[in-house]
């Protein structure tokens, strides 16, 4: 387990909370930095622009590392599509942080909640559904593909599609349908 900075903890314990979240998606060296605040925030010298997103609960394994962390990002302007279609989102990283503002909207404190998640990504049209998973082996239906070159089953960066699998009696393996 890890601890948040005390200022953030105090704010979260109060009844009137003024916190915002920061999302930094890095894919092939390009950063997409977003905040759920209604105005841009500059934190640590980096600018986070407003964009709606929703982070699901992080799932921790018994080894206390994050296994799964799902973020839905508003993609109505399709800004992420080219990166996901034309790029290689696999093994991108994601940093999810929390920032605390005072009444004058100055940044009081900032803390990283989750960071450097090796990732694979799935996307649909208007909502970019980002599902970083640490390591291969976390089987999620429809998010894997057969790699003809390596012969392995790899995470799939699909766009609005799902892959289906079936048991092959000849080879005894699970193959794409």
């Amino acid at each position: 387990m890890r601890s948040l900075v005390s200022a953030v903890v105090s704010e979260l314990q109060s009844s009137e909370v003024r916190i915002f979240h920061l999302l930094d998606i890095e894919i092939e060296g390009t950063h997409f930095r977003y905040t759920d605040c209604d105005i841009p925030l500059v934190v640590g010298g980096d600018k986070y622009v407003p964009r709606a997103f929703f982070a699901d609960a992080a799932m921790h394994s018994s080894e206390e590392i994050v296994d799964k962390f799902t973020v839905d990002v508003d993609n109505v302007d399709r800004v992420l599509v080219n990166t996901f279609v034309g790029g290689s989102p696999r093994n991108g990283t994601l940093t999810y942080s929390i920032v605390l503002l005072d009444e004058n909207h100055n940044i009081v404190s900032y803390d990283v909640l989750e960071s450097t998640l090796e990732s694979y990504w799935e996307s649909d049209s208007e909502v970019q559904d980002l599902q970083p998973v640490a390591g291969i082996g976390d089987t999620v239906l429809g998010m894997w593909e057969y790699n003809a070159t390596t012969g392995g089953i790899m995470p799939s960066a699909s766009i609005g599609e799902e892959d289906y699998w079936e048991y092959n009696e000849t080879t005894g393996g699970i193959m794409p349908k």
Binding site: S15, V17, I19, D36, D38, K47, L101, H105
Partner: protein, 202 residues
């Protein structure tokens, strides 16, 4: 940016109702003793309802053309409140914009301001030395501030510009609806009013 048809171009001055809209996330587990609330917006939006006592067909067509030119709720425009009968109201802490380290001109969320104070990240600036103020010099006749003089410091990336002023409020907004027919659109102006949905100043 476009602006709502001039009051002088419509034969009747509208009655305008302005609603302040904040956004608060409340716990779904609240009971009467404990309620957690999270502020989602730092600055409010203003929604507007525009009504006319009656509206000639030609004026209805002017507004209809404007609505279609905005493509329904797609394109934003500037809406200025009507001239008050008495003195101009005072507004405090209004959002002007955000610096990016290079932009030097900013449209004010008002026009015809008779008093004004500009703040960058909460620090009051001096008119004439830190910035220039031009009444009516901005887009659509809004007031404008600039940091053009060589001795002035361009607002840095991420710095927030706010203002206190006494003047006519400008509301950047969109139509709230995407679907209308002309008769309904025109009738709404003289019955319940047509709703405009506020967005942040630009």
């Amino acid at each position: 940016m476009a602006k709502f048809p001039e009051y002088s171009s419509i034969s009747i001055t509208p009655r305008v109702v302005v609603k302040i809209r904040w956004k608060t996330l409340k716990t779904q587990f609240n009971d009467e003793s404990v309620e957690k609330r999270r502020q989602k917006w730092l600055y409010p939006r203003r929604d507007v309802i525009v009504r006319y006592n009656h509206i000639p067909k030609s004026d209805g067509e002017t507004l209809w053309e404007f609505y279609n030119a905005r493509k329904g709720s797609y394109s934003s425009f500037n809406f200025f409140l009507p001239e008050p009968e008495m003195s101009y109201p005072t507004y405090t802490g209004e959002y002007v914009g955000e610096g990016d380290g290079s932009t030097t001109d900013f449209n004010m969320p008002c026009k015809s301001a008779v008093t004004h104070t500009i703040y960058i990240d909460g620090v009051a600036q001096n008119d004439g030395s830190d910035y220039n103020y031009t009444v009516g010099g901005g887009t659509d006749g809004a007031d404008k501030i600039d940091f053009d003089d060589s001795a002035m410091v361009t607002p840095s990336d991420g710095s927030i510009i706010t203002a206190d002023f006494q003047g006519i409020l400008k509301i950047r907004c969109t139509f709230a609806e995407d679907i209308f027919e002309f008769e309904t659109f025109r009738d709404l102006f003289v019955s319940t009013g047509v709703e405009l949905r506020g967005v942040l100043n630009e």
